[in-house]
Amino acid sequence: MTPSLAPELAGRITRPAGPLVIDIAGVTKLYQMGEEIIHALRGVSVKIHRNEYLAVMGPSGSGKSTLMNMLGCLDTPSEGRYEFTGKNVATMVDDELADIRNREIGFVFQTFNLLPRSTALANVELPLIYAGYSPAERKTKAIQAMQNVGLGDRLHHRPNELSGGQRQRVAIARALVNSPSIILADEPTGNLDSKTGVEIMALFEQLYAQGNTLIVVTHEEDIARHARRIVRLRDGLIESDGPVG
């Protein structure tokens, strides 16, 4: 399970895997599209541990997005087992899933998904409101998260006053603020130029070093190679799962 270092990636640290966080076994997902039934996932099994840095890859239609929604507890499997830190997610109802997402998962979206009329700080505070923190606690934690992504001086800017890279940093701060078990990033550099993309991936490297568990969903090989382990999907099945190298 421990990934070996690829030659061009020599010198990177790899943290030892911690306890099991995600345990997916034999998961399928069916969609009804008019008359047709689509098998988005046909029996996927994957285990993800704390301290992992994982990339999920695959062409469009491979079931990559479906798996990501499943990992993010936005969706539940049609069949199969899904345990998140030992809790059975497969049978959870909407509000229980919402609580899992709030406490355990930090989302980073391709399109940043910041609330346009709220300041960066207010955006970062949002998950803490749903978690029930007092305004004072929210502020302290949010400022900390903003400083952690290097935006301590941009607290009161609105998204349209920030660059693309800065917006994604705010989104990352928002994903980090509630100290989740995993950070789930969906094409995090998809809307950024390559230089900014490199900066964001450097930030991910830093977060990983600080002890966060990262899952990056991408179709770009270059991005995926930043991870320590790559899961490749094709036609709703896992094609390969192994360390980067």
Binding site: N69, G72, L74, D75, D94, D95, A98, D99, R101, N102, R103, F107, F109, N113, L115, R117, S118, L126, P127, I129, Y130, A131, G132, Y133, S134, P135, R174, N178
Partner: protein, 416 residues
């Protein structure tokens, strides 16, 4: 619990940010509610005004006075039964008063005969026709609540002596004497000279139908001398305790039967009328007006509510992706539901407050410029319209907010 409070605070913050960001749209939507609230509250003030005016009119009749008359107030079908009744004569008041004196702990205080007819009042070149002219005793003063703007009522001596003195109603005095004081002047009532000894202060009209200011009060004996009393009179009986009208009424029926020599088992050949009966008759009409008015004005509020519903649907649609994001970050269904409900309620409340201010201004303007139109603003109206606004917001915002709360986060996040 604290989480709910934080969510609510956040929802209000978002709602007002949203309204601020879409000023024009919010104002236009609120306009529907404003118009609705103005219509409903104006109707409310009008109904209240009518009610107050009505009660004021009833008070003119006196809430402690029973009227012994040949006819009941209100419509009758078998009018011949009533017209065949023997007339009520003024001297029956004396007999009634003797019975009252002899009854220990009587609930009746005094009976006053009142004969009436329509005549004219003339002074010099000025003449008023159709004046309600009554002949009564000095006890009349114990019945009426009105003050005298000048002078006084005739006393017992003048009344019993049939002195040619009169008291004018306010409008009559004004019409005949303009700005001069009529006291001590002699007017012609019909064709007979009477000296004016008093003027009753302005009382207003009864339900806008009959003016208490268009009358002349004469001593009964003088009235009897010049105008016939054969057509009969009515007896106005003041009671001692207005809380016990029903008992007083029973006592009065017994006493009047004795006075009129009715045999046991015989049906009453008179009616006891009172303002309460009037009220009972007019209440359904009043309620009908209120109901129809509220229904019609309620329609405008309904249209406003549809506007709110529409704009909330639009708001949900526009912010589908935001809903997806919020759900991904841990917002429960309740949170999303509350957020959009509060947005709808906020617009309604803003509309409600604006509508209320508008109504208040209109009522002030109307009551200053058109005092004849009875309108009345009240604190309860504030609470009612606020409650109506909130209810409108909840009712109209619920369907779109519910839809938003049920959105699948995967679908919502993918929405462009």
């Amino acid at each position: 619990m604290t989480r709910l409070i934080y969510e609510l605070t956040e929802s209000f913050r978002i709602a007002f940010a949203q309204i601020r960001a879409n000023k024009l749209r919010s104002i236009l939507t609120a306009l529907g509610v404003i118009i609705g609230i103005v219509a409903v509250t104006l109707m409310g003030t009008a109904i209240r005004g009518i009610d107050t005016g009505f009660n004021k009119s009833l008070a003119m009749l006196g809430d402690d006075v029973l009227y012994v008359q040949k006819w009941p107030w209100g419509p009758v079908e078998d009018f011949w039964n009533y017209s065949n009744r023997p007339a009520i004569m003024p001297d029956q008041a004396d007999k009634l008063n003797r019975i009252i004196e002899q009854t220990p702990n009587s609930l009746l205080e005094v009976a006053v005969p009142v004969s009436s007819r329509s005549t004219s009042v003339k002074y010099g070149e000025n003449k008023v026709s159709g004046v309600f002219t009554i002949g009564t005793t000095a006890d009349y003063g114990r019945l009426i609540s009105a003050d005298f703007s000048e002078g006084r009522l005739f006393n017992e001596t003048e009344a019993n002596g049939g002195r040619p003195v009169c008291v004018l109603g306010f409008d009559v005095a004004e019409a005949v004497f303009q700005n001069r004081s009529p006291l001590g002047e002699t007017v012609l009532v019909g064709s007979h000279p009477f000296t004016v000894i008093g003027v009753v202060a302005k009382q207003g009209s009864f339900l806008g139908l009959f003016s208490f200011d268009n009358q002349v009060i004469l001593p009964l004996e003088a009235f009897r001398k010049y105008f016939s009393v054969r057509r009969g009179a009515e007896l106005r009986v003041k009671i001692t305790d207005k809380m016990r009208v029903a008992e007083a009424r029973e006592e009065l029926i017994g006493a009047v039967r004795r006075v009129r020599g009715q045999l046991p088992g015989e049906r009453d050949n008179f009616n006891i009328n009172e303002q309460g009966a009037f009220k009972a008759q007019l209440d359904p009409i009043k309620q009908g007006i209120a109901l129809a008015g509220l229904f019609i004005t309620g329609l405008s509020l309904f249209v406003g509510a549809i506007g709110i519903m529409n704009i909330t649907f639009v708001s949900v649609k526009e912010r589908t992706k935001e809903i997806g994001t919020r759900k991904a970050l841990g917002a429960r269904r309740r949170t999303i539901l509350l957020q959009f409900l509060i947005e709808a309620v906020s617009i309604c409340l803003i509309g409600g407050i604006a509508g209320l201010l508008l109504t208040y201004t209109l009522v002030q303007v109307v009551s200053v410029t058109l005092p004849a139109i009875p309108v009345e603003f009240s604190v309860s109206l504030v609470f009612i319209s606020m409650a109506v606004s909130i209810a409108t917001g909840i009712v109209s915002g619920f369907a779109p907010a519910w839809g938003a709360s049920r959105l699948d986060p995967v679908v919502a996040l993918r929405y462009e």
